[in-house]
Symmetry: C2
Subunit: 246 residues, 2 copies
């Protein structure tokens, strides 16, 4: 039995997210499992570093699978690439340690959320951006608001789930907010993220940037542990898994 | 009667090119004329700086139209933007001199053709690139081949039309071939371009870059005035109108 590690890029526009749902082929995981099971002539389970939402993307996502095969990673790579749809790219394939597991071994992740505020729309990257044409985002206000989020906290106020079976404590290592032309880019790195956490964090910060709430209210929302105190969930299409660390 | 000048960006993927074909709404020109005629409550004709092929794009395309209206460009701009589909962006709208005509007044154009040769596919810009995964393009060979194309020539060897009603003489001012990571970008500027000329020029240069033909054969193809001597027509999706000069 060999264990393989895949590094993937995908445009999630036409998928219902990472996680398979029954036997429908419209998830990234479902697509990969169907393809690998067929190519390797055995049932293959694919484990991603984590789920991504319907419509969200990955610049670098890592996934692992095991299979009984004589083939090397170098032999499998072009074969898998040939059959992948054009919105899923296999960047790298390598044989991994026998017990490697993309989710269990993950020690950190970086997500990027891209907001477009140009007066003119961005037609070429429209599937990768949340467009707020002509709106002004105050970067200093957002940075001030983001500061108390850093470090280890219970982030349940920034999670869409209503019931929590597992810990909602995570460590947020950095939030970078930068202006790139007409784009405002949020880069968040941490130990891991709760369901919808990046989209709610960014949604709350954008409300601060637009002047709709005070910078101080973000730290208060965190402390409240109450989803109602945080801001809106931004659209999935602006979100990308940027990097995964092991 | 006012005359307006539009600067447009579009992703041509789902259109049958710029030029209207009967009353079908699946061309850029057809889409714009239908929208402007409805908004301005009069038949509006839109003149582009030139046609673009089915599936080709524009980073900056210029078009003009005339209309009887009290409205200023500043008033019309947000109105038009609101009703344009998300793959056509109105970057600028300005009132122009009464006799301005986007095609007749055009004095020069720049086209860009983008080729991707990374081993791994590019999933995010796949609609904007011609992908030749893992192929090696020799830039020096292509630059050597391109040199005799510069200046004023009869370019009929690089045109898909079989019969020529008008002059096939054009002036090519520059061809820049550069490597940007895994992308090879061809930038061509000139007085104007014949039907499929950029795609055939790039197709011929790529054959040189792949080692399939000699650098000298490109100047020979030009001198032959024979389409059979030139190379293949590259796919439209790698092509963009980059800029138009007046």
């Amino acid at each position: 039995m060999k264990c393989f590690r895949m590094t993937l890029a995908y445009e999630g526009t036409r998928y219902r997210g990472w996680q398979k749902q029954g036997n429908t082929p419209d998830t990234i995981q479902g697509k990969l499992e169907a393809l690998l099971s067929r190519l390797l002539e055995q049932p293959v389970e694919v484990h991603g570093s984590g789920r991504t939402d319907a419509g969200a993307h990955a610049r670098r996502q890592v996934a692992s699978f095991r299979a009984e095969t004589e083939r090397t990673a170098a032999e499998l790579l072009p074969l898998i690439r040939r059959y992948l749809p054009e919105d899923i790219g296999l960047l790298e394939l390598a044989e991994a340690a026998p017990r490697f597991h993309a989710r269990l071994n993950c020690v950190g992740k970086t997500y990027v959320y891209r907001v477009w505020t140009g007066e003119a729309p961005n037609v070429f990257e429209r599937r990768l951006l949340w467009q707020l044409p002509g709106r002004e985002l105050d970067l200093d206000r957002m940075r001030e608001a983001a500061a108390p989020l850093l470090g280890e906290h219970d982030f349940r106020a920034f999670c869409s789930l209503k019931r929590f079976k597992k810990s909602t404590v995570r460590r947020l290592d950095s939030i970078t907010i930068e202006r790139l032309g007409d784009e405002t880019r949020f880069t968040l790195s941490g130990s891991g993220f709760l369901y919808n956490m990046v989209r709610i964090l960014v949604g709350t910060l954008v409300e601060v940037g637009l002047g709709e709430r005070s910078p101080g209210s973000v730290g208060e929302a965190l402390a409240s542990l109450d989803r109602q105190q945080a801001g809106q969930t931004t659209p999935a299409q602006g979100l990308s898994v940027w990097d995964v660390r092991y």
